[in-house]
């Protein structure tokens, strides 16, 4: 499910940026105030030539593009907004269906309640966890096999906050759906606000993904990747402590864990 999710996300972000490029500006409110956008990506003359313009191919003309051709699906000249919309809606459905399956599985397997839910101890440990993160102090022993509080909060954000937001703001851009989303449109402030929030949610997903990958690499990519694929996660115990035999323990990532430190 994780890898289907990644595939969908890549397709959604790429095609979404191509859709954004069709009108490379964001507004707040119900309508577009064309002269006063909230955010716009336009070509400007910079020190090193024109900024905000790309050549989709080595021999093609310079094009004014909100996002460069390498970031969009499809690239300019390889299909336009129509194709990008096809990509976006197909992978939106795939992503939502995959997400619902993940949610049902996490509930049934108690992954959600056991591994992800914030316990009282997690809330108490937040300050300590922040300090640990800032000092790049990596958890050892059984703590390494658990999610730390900041990690839990990040996961809860990308599971329970961003997906509903991104789906609802996506649907808010549909004139057909807007006919039944009156109350929600009042909360978000209109179609153009919804489009802006949809973009912000996308940016937060991308930010999460970047931090997520950095953390995986930092925590030992081979061990982490193996655990993601096989479910086996190698836990290191500090040398000074008398670790339970053996010194290196193979623990299934989602199996029962000891709640007490050795």
């Amino acid at each position: 499910m994780h890898w289907i999710n990644l595939l969908c996300m890549l397709a959604l972000v790429g095609s979404g940026l191509r859709i954004y490029n069709a009108h490379a500006a964001l507004y707040w409110g119900e309508v577009s105030h064309f002269d006063t956008p909230l955010f716009a990506t336009q070509a400007i003359a910079g020190k090193d030539g024109v900024l905000g313009a790309s050549r989709p191919g080595s021999d093609s003309a310079l094009m004014r593009l909100g996002f460069p051709s390498w970031a969009t699906i499809p690239s300019p000249g390889m299909g336009g907004l129509a194709v990008a919309r096809r990509w976006h809606f197909f992978f939106a459905w795939a992503w939502v269906i995959n997400g619902v399956c993940f949610l049902l599985w996490s509930l049934a397997s108690r992954h959600l309640g056991r591994d992800l839910a914030m316990q009282r101890r997690d809330w108490r440990d937040i300050p300590k966890s922040i300090v640990d993160h800032l000092r790049f102090r990596h958890p050892v022993g059984d703590a390494a096999a658990r999610y730390n509080p900041l990690q839990k909060l990040a996961y809860l954000l990308v599971i329970f906050v961003l997906p509903p937001l991104v789906v609802m703001t996506g649907l808010s851009m549909s004139p057909q759906m807007a006919s039944v989303l009156g109350w929600w449109m009042d909360i978000v402030g209109g179609r153009q606000s919804a489009r802006t929030l949809h973009f912000v949610a996308m940016a937060l997903f991308v930010l999460f993904a970047v931090v997520h990958v950095v953390m995986v690499v930092y925590a030992g990519p081979i061990n982490e990747m193996r655990s993601m694929i096989t479910g086996r996660f190698r836990v290191k115990y500090p040398k000074t402590e008398t670790a339970p035999t053996p010194a290196v323990q193979e623990a299934p990532a989602s199996a029962d864990r000891m709640e007490t430190r050795p």
């Binding site: 499809p74 057909q176 807007a178």
Partner: protein, 256 residues
């Protein structure tokens, strides 16, 4: 020694990441060129249509107060048609204009703009959503399409309403057209509009008559309409996909 190894490893990694990225994207571009793949992606369209139709029923698009009308109703697509038949009409301020209703109807009809103005009308202040992503709000007055269709009387087998337009957006001698099904045709806010913001629709926004189909994107709301044709299928018309932009790959549903 380690320095060199580390540098080359870093370069290798960077190359691998860049290579994977380029491979991924050119792969996506190659897929975008394959009709089979596009057909697979297009399976989302009937899902959008049926789920959204189920959730929205016959609900009205939101209507706004006058204070929210946009200062400029951004014109898009054709904004100044140059086809000879349109220029001839425009030269006479659209006096000879006639709206034709034909196809699978009991009684083909013809309306001048004045005749349309004499019919019961609906005025609505609604948001116009372009497929590109922008929106503007405008006020529209026109005849509900349901009245026109009822006046002509639908024949059995009628399933779609096709709008034929004066403008040649492609610039190749073809004409803009669009189609909707009877659900949308009989929606209360589907009107043939002759007034925008209290004055006759300007040329840039579709004079003398344009469709307002409020729960659709802009490309599904044709301007410069001269004929409303009732059909059982749109597959034999022009590109066969039911509309000018649909023939270019856009979805026929056009509700999101």
């Amino acid at each position: 020694m380690t320095e060199i190894i580390r540098l080359s490893r870093r370069r290798l990694l960077r190359g691998a990441v860049a290579g994977a990225g380029v491979g991924l994207l050119s792969g996506c571009d190659a897929l975008s060129q394959r009709q089979g793949f596009i057909d697979m992606l297009s399976t989302a369209e009937p899902m959008n249509r049926s789920v959204q139709r189920f959730l929205t029923g016959n609900r009205l698009a939101r209507e706004f107060p006058e204070s929210m009308i946009s200062p400029v109703f951004k014109p898009n697509g054709s904004i100044n048609p140059k086809t000879p038949e349109y220029l001839a009409l425009k030269a006479e301020n659209f006096a000879p204009y006639r709206l034709n209703i034909r196809g699978l109807v009991r009684k083909p009809l013809e309306f001048s703009v004045d005749a349309l103005r004499a019919m019961p009308s609906r005025t609505q202040i609604t948001r116009h959503d372009c497929v590109e992503g922008w929106s503007v709000i405008g006020q529209w007055t026109g005849v509900p399409l349901s009245r026109l269709l009822d006046a002509a009387g639908l024949k059995p087998g009628a399933r779609y309403v096709v709008f034929h337009c004066y403008d040649d957006l492609a610039g190749d001698g073809s004409r803009y057209y669009e189609s909707i099904d009877l659900d949308d045709a009989y929606h209360p806010q589907t009107i043939a509009a002759y007034d925008m913001n209290g004055a006759p629709v300007p040329v840039s926004n579709g004079a003398p008559l344009r469709m307002r189909i409020e729960r659709k994107l802009g490309y599904k709301q044709p301007k410069y309409v001269h004929t409303i044709e009732v059909v059982d299928s749109y597959t034999t018309l022009f590109g066969g996909k039911g509309g000018f932009w649909e023939d270019d790959g856009y979805d026929w549903y056009g509700g999101i």
